[in-house]
Amino acid sequence: MKKIILAAAATLALASFTASVFAAEEVHIPKEQWSFNGTFGKFDRLQLQRGLQVYKEICASCHSLKYVAFRNLAALGYNEAQIKAFAAEYEYPDIDDEGSDTKRKGLPSDYFPNPYPNEKFARASSNGALPPDLSLISKAREGGPDYLFHLITGYEDPPAGMTVMDGMSYNKYFSSGNFQIAMVKQIEDDKVTYADGTKATTDQIARDVTAFLHWAAEPMLEARHSTGLRVMLYMIVFTLLAYFLKRRIWARLDK
């Protein structure tokens, strides 16, 4: 048994060693409480709905969300009719029976549209920077949702002696861009009016949209946690059975 523990410890040590290697951080990002963290973590449906509203009203004018289809919004608790209506708010290019370009209304199978026709247009309208697609942003940045939350609330006056380039803003969490970010501060108190009556503080808005973006990046999180629990339960029983069977078979050698 001692040797098992030793072998397991060696494996874990190696794994945690490599994990700590990647945890090296230039700016400390405080950890936040999220409903989706932890062994049993789940998304808060109402929070995701509020986050969707924030994305639509604030983020969507510059940022695409290209891997999220309207049909996916069923996971936020919307029914089919609501999703249809939601999709129909957007228009998509189409070709009519005579072969001319036309527009059609969005369908549940459509994906969130790109606010810009092409990358050059996006850069031209965004001070030369390209607003990144947000569908994977929560997994594509070191620190994940914690980083996103602090980034969008991390605007403040630059420290004395630092000159911020024209059109840029100082952000104390934007270490990858020398703390100068092309996105201006977007979130303020009461910037949105929540449909569910929640008070729209800066903190609340940032939290909601971060949760929504984490869902967009990892929509399978809840299935992952629940499948994981069942698999672990099975594995524990199986490993115990195998252990006792092993002991019993090996006991024959002592006779």
Binding site: D97, F238, L241, A242, L245, I249
Partner: protein, 188 residues
Amino acid sequence: MANTATAHSVASGTADGETRRDFLLHSTVAFGTVGTALAVWPLISSMNPAADTLALSTTEFSLANLQEGQAIIVVWQGKPVFVRYRTPAEIESARNAPMSDLVDPIKDEERVKKDKEKYLILVGVCTHLGCIPLGTKPMDPRGDFGGWLCPCHGSHYDTAGRIRKGPAPKNLAVPPYQYLDDTTVRIG
């Protein structure tokens, strides 16, 4: 993996220890086998249609521009669907066909929606070996019964899409569909 530990392990040991181990052995093997089977399920399930494919499993189209005697092909789930605006003569010929002549007998009335008898909607895949029968375009041959003719092995379908002659065993299938309004149809 657990099944490597199966069966005829070793046939020695005392009777008491043996029964207890047998129970342990059998439950471990059974548990392991069930687990392996369950573990294989996601791999198999992944080959079923994915969510984005399923999201496109219905097709909507309009009948507004279809003229009498004309036919169009609509794509539904990657397959052609024949939509034909039948003439009164075609409907009559379909209804007058004696049931005894049919390979796969069914009344014309059961192949169309009530009050919409003029529109015939069929999955355009020959029930023989999956070719696409001719008969939709104006120049196409329509076979001996004025419906469709499959070019692969010569199956003749009538104006209700029923098999009348040739190797196909069944009538052209009627897909599940409904009228959303007077001229809009949703298949699937």
